[in-house]
Subunit: 343 residues, 2 copies
Amino acid sequence: MSTLSLIFVGFGNVGQALARLLERKQTLLDEEYGFKTRIVGIATGRHGMALNPNGLPMEEVLASLKSGESLARFHNGPAVSDTFDFIRQSKADVMFENSPVNHQTGQPAADHLRTALESGMHAITANKGPVVHAFNELTALAKIQGKRFMFESAVMDGAPIFSLFRGPLPAIELKGFTGILNSCTNLLLGLMEEEKTFDEAVSYAQSIGITETNPSADIDGWDATIKVCALSTVIMGIPLKPDQVEREGIRGITPKMIQEARAAGERWKLVCSARYENKKFVGRVKPQRVRPTSPMFSVNGTSSFVQFETDVLPGLGILEGDPSPDTTAYGLLADLVNTVRGQ
Amino acid sequence: MSTLSLIFVGFGNVGQALARLLERKQTLLDEEYGFKTRIVGIATGRHGMALNPNGLPMEEVLASLKSGESLARFHNGPAVSDTFDFIRQSKADVMFENSPVNHQTGQPAADHLRTALESGMHAITANKGPVVHAFNELTALAKIQGKRFMFESAVMDGAPIFSLFRGPLPAIELKGFTGILNSCTNLLLGLMEEEKTFDEAVSYAQSIGITETNPSADIDGWDATIKVCALSTVIMGIPLKPDQVEREGIRGITPKMIQEARAAGERWKLVCSARYENKKFVGRVKPQRVRPTSPMFSVNGTSSFVQFETDVLPGLGILEGDPSPDTTAYGLLADLVNTVRGQ
């Protein structure tokens, strides 16, 4: 029975949800998958860092963060100069990287992941940035190191997308996909259908913590775009970059347009897609009116959906209803288990 | 590089589609998964049987079946007395069982599968009957024999359901599911929305070959019921039997009810579900009116859908759009690949 030592780089809602989930599932992980876990390090953006090779007292750590205190008092070891030094000195088995996303560069997450792999750790992230900007490099590095680079939660939270194509769908030819990949804009469009103005809708989304750190990332379609790139890169093998995607956000959608669609029994959705069109591979994020016959019609609130076009299953769709930090945390846990059992 | 010898018991639309799919994917299977296949036997209900350890000439076999001829002329080996003798004498590596479903007993499919496993073959089926009536027995037998009993296509054709819970969703607690699992009744209800009478709708479904051999199996909810049982048995570990499911078919749905629902912006669907209700596990197949906010609302024609309620992903749904015998054949192929690579 092995005990895996874990570190977290970035420890916001998702990281904290994962820590609680690991605690809740510890008996199951031990009995069904034959491993225990010990959190030996946490590096945060605003509350400092702490390493302790014997394991951090997680209940105290979580309480401490809740009251806004620094983690420094939990540190038990040599001084650590920065996050990279933290990763190297931790000597952990697995790093969970959940720092804020950077759509343009994927940094510093990509460098964190590289450092972890170079230091002989498995590297697991919910961050889309490094998947789009460094997938090939990190995957190759992981292979050389005999470790895994995993990122199930980067698209549609914990819903199984990447693992689906890694496992249950062998010998399939993926031709394209269509879906709703950004929770925030889907919520905003729904609120506008309830006759909220665009600004009221944005304020509400911010109040419940649904928008990305920068609301423009959602509203202008960047988050959706980078998810299209992540899916194209990983499951289609086509390394699309964000500036190669035809991108249009939802700022142009007026209350009048919403009402006209409603009167026609349709709904505006921020539709994401990628496929070959006249032999050219086209990634696209664009508001579209969808009919009740479309599976996208009933994707409400912060839910998301993707439908794959393949040579053998013409319309396989995955729906992720009511996501939360817990859902994202589950994707990270699934990555951990699949890493351990080599799936 | 190994060559697997395959036999087919039952060789209708699905078996024939699988034979063509194996032919089309042969290079891919060889290059990506390291195996070739050779079809060494086919046993049909109406066109006799043929065994040939060197492989059957499949193009000729398919043409022969198309013109309604017996397979006897392709037989090359000792006389075979019946299907069980056929299975035993074949000495194949894998049997595909696709005989007609029997909802009450799962026979003779269950006995075919048992014979194949006892004879040292992997046993793969698209047949729901043996999954419901003999899952535990056949799974145990497969383990003892060091072989696999696989049945991805038994529910929702080739869409990954069983493999999803075997692979990408580790450490998850499944609490229940809801969905539309019978293609035929979903098509019929849609046709009634287009103002066809019930009888006209049934005639149309029969004309395009969508109904089960006995239309009552669909209309009275038996097919849906047995799928609820298969899911409960396999992915929830609760061996529900068809007579333990609250079952109501669609015979009671009148044109007036359809119109009333439409006027209210709703649709009648044959909803399948299973979950604990007041500590009692309840499987249910029952026509229900669904709203546009339900993901079941936009499940059209012969498509199907299931949404899982779990402790970590509150609303994971799988949609299978536009199924065909090719879709079912893909599920059988996926089972074969996953058997070979041990997933």
